[in-house]
Amino acid sequence: MKPFPRFWLVMAIVAVVVALAVVNHALLLDAVSTEAGNRAFAAVFVVRAELPRLAMALVAGAALGLSSALLQRVLRNPLAEPATLGLSAGAQLAMVAATVVLPAAMAYPTAVAFAGAAAAAVLVLAATARRRFEPLSVILTGMMVSLTATAGAAAVILASGDYMTGLFIWGGGDLTQDGWTPTLRLAAILVAAGCGTLLALRPLALLTLGDAEAKAAGLATGTLRLAVIALAVWLAAATTAEIGIVGFIGLAAPLIARLIGVRSSTGRLVAAPLAGALLLSLADGAVQLTGHLTGLRIPTGAATALIGGPLILALVPRIVNLTRPDVLPAAAFLSRRPAGPVLAALAVVLVATVALALTAGRGVDGWHVDAANADWRLARVGLLAAAGALVGMAGTVVQRLTGNPMASPEVLGVGVGAGAGLAAVLVAVPVAGLGMQAAGMLAGAVLTLFALLAFVRRHGFGAERLLIAGIALGALLSSVLTSVIATGSPAGFLLLGWVSGALIEPSWSMATGTAAILAGLTPLVILNARALAILPLGETAARSLGLATARTRAGLVLIAGAATAASTLSIGPMSFIGLIAPHLARSLGLGRPLAHLAGAMLAGAALTIAADWLARMIAFPYQLPLGLFAALIGGGYLAVRFARGARGGA
């Protein structure tokens, strides 16, 4: 990579930042002085709001840059940063939950955020330890944790009433300041973390060689790694506590450091925070200018995602070594069982779940089991079963076609695409009916799927690139969602419900429609059974065996995308079930493609119905969002996986 003339590039960015600040200042002064006609007030405003905001952008950007540079170094993962690892979302969930449940704890926001971010980090790292923190698996798990935490936060906000939507605006990354305290607090943490980084510089340089070499050179790699990750998590948590989720700054900063020609790894650790500071102030300046000119209040975090999504897409062709084929075989071993009895058992579980959902319920006088309400519950349960089976199918197909057990339908970006389509419809036509909403979601999902296919086609449908491009696309679209939700309009509130997975009112027509889609897609997957057996062996082996991999993958992506779109239309983005159902089927010993598929579909249906039943029962008479329970089940699953992984050893 040829370095840019770095001095001039940096100078140009600085010039733009300064220019933006000056223009914003002029516009602000204009607005304030015509309204109040008071120059003294304007002066106060500049000192207590405008300057702190600029300072906050610089400090927070630097903190994110440093945090990411540390994470990328220690995990040897070019895509690691607080947002992609789910740290920011974890911090956000912790703060939202604390605000609602335990307001007293919010006297120490950084501590609460740290608890959440650390929990997310532990979850992600523990779940991927057996794959030796393979970069792609870490990112996929991070994305799942992030989606789940976001759905959880949305659910908590929804459950506590609409006056809490402000929390979501903050979650979108808002740099508005009303004093110097938060900036100074974050600056102090940044300085402390900077000192910690300086102490760790030399051991970190050793770590670049690889674990075994660093250990041989007398380094306690485990301790060092833990300490550095803790430092990075602390920085990320503190930043999230002050300004909410601001993604991609961390991704871009180390990259820019490399682009402007900082070669040494130590140099990059210094350059990344500087680049982060400049980038965030640039983005925030642009957001403020947009606000002044159009009156739109876009959260800065949404704007950075808007920049960051394309950035990852641009990087896709250059990304290499995200998987480590040579270290996996021993770790990924799972035994097999005869398919018949296992499938029969799963079917029994599904039938029992259906029976439970149809008959058991809570009334004003406590629990009761009777078939009186079964009739009008049938449509709901049928819809959930069909949608759950679709999610299980999509998950199996995606995991097999990418050969990655950590992949899930979400990586296709289709779910978020449907959400973006819904957002577009709601913004354009606030009174849109259910039909129009469904049409918008469908259009969004289809457009996203084709964008993904068109993009990946140029790179031969490699599994890694498909995953990365899907993640980038998803992040890009979810920033659109966040922006609309953050407007606080009725459309935003509706979207918030959708994000948290609140079920659209089920009807017979929806249930039969979804079941018809399920019936139509299943034979298509079955026709691809042999391809689904071969593709997990990877690109090289599949091509050597004579499989037309590009065409086959494209076809399977379409099938999985259609299944995801159909389920998203009816039950919202069910983050975890598409990941868990195939896993569950596989760990029950179903290894052959068709048995695996059937098992995942049964498990997906049962899990979805169970999650919905729990969501209706736990806080009776209030109905909690389905997504929250899918999230709880998912988080629990990852935790159990961690426990078993720890016992089994790496």
Binding site: I534, S544, G546
Partner: protein
């Protein structure tokens, strides 16, 4: 990547052609100025040569000499950015995916994880090139799978999971899969370098036997020059992306050939009676 023709008749036609015995040894590989570079650096400089069917070619050379790239070009895993490669009289890009797999099987250096697949299931995947995604598995397919398992001494392991096997057994399972593929060329990229000397010799002897029994052409990247001299019909030495030597094993086992390749400390103990010539480090 060209589309698979996918005509129902194509598998049967090829089978028929092969059974008729007209073209017993299959088509030759022909490279016509084929080169490959990555990031502006040439990995393989324009090579023009022919590889005859039915012979075992060993590819040797120091690290970074372009051996693996050469093999991947033959396997169509990489496309040359200069020149062309033909198999018989057809350029490689003209083959459909399955048609090509019926001619050429490729075994990578690292075999992927198989997620609990049994040996028999893995070997049966080799038949994909013949029956395709939808075609029924014919008695002939099943016979080919059985024969491949037997030939590789895996009958006792047929129902075991591939992941449970030892390194040597697993390697044999993958070779059995290539056998079941019944292609006329086998390309092996250091397929034995993770094994101990005894298992290496077993596998290579098996491959050498296959070239004799079935007229299968083999191109194998081998690290161990002594092992290469032991089994190969012909040795090709690459250095810095150039073909620097090509000839009989006996001709390569000379200090003046090996020293430029592997450094001045390499020397050769000449053949004496039953002992073959041996390369060693001084």
């Amino acid at each position: 990547m060209p589309a698979d023709p996918g005509q129902p008749g194509s598998a049967g036609d090829a089978l028929h052609e092969r059974r008729s015995g007209v073209d017993d040894n299959g088509p030759d590989f022909a490279l016509d100025g084929a080169g490959f570079s990555a990031g502006g650096r040439p990995i393989l400089r324009r090579l023009s040569l022919r590889l005859a069917a039915g012979r075992l070619h060993a590819l040797v050379g120091p690290n970074g000499s372009g051996k693996s790239t050469f093999l991947k070009l033959l396997a169509r895993q990489l496309l040359p950015d200069a020149g062309a490669i033909r198999l018989g009289d057809r350029p490689l890009p003209d083959f459909g995916s399955r048609a090509f797999a019926r001619e050429v099987a490729f075994m990578p250096q690292f075999t992927p994880a198989t997620d609990g697949m049994t040996v028999k299931e893995l070997v049966a995947l080799g038949r994909f090139a013949w029956h395709g995604a939808l075609g029924r598995s014919s008695p002939r397919d099943r016979a080919a799978v059985e024969a491949a398992i037997e030939r590789c001494d895996l009958v006792a392991f047929a129902r075991r999971s591939v992941d449970e096997l030892s390194g040597g057994e697993r390697q044999r399972a993958w070779i059995a899969m290539m056998l079941a593929q019944e292609s006329r060329w086998l390309l092996l990229d250091e397929a034995t370098s993770a094994l101990d000397v005894g298992h290496q010799a077993d596998i290579l002897d098996l491959i050498a036997a296959l070239t004799r029994e079935r007229g299968v052409g083999v191109v194998a990247v081998l690290h161990d020059i002594n092992m290469a001299a032991r089994v190969a019909d012909e040795i090709l030495a690459l250095d810095g992306g150039n073909l620097v030597f090509r000839g009989d094993p006996a001709d390569v086992m000379r200090p003046e050939v090996l020293k430029p390749l592997f450094g001045p400390r390499v020397d050769v103990l000449p053949a004496e009676g039953p002992h073959p010539a041996l390369a060693y480090l001084r």
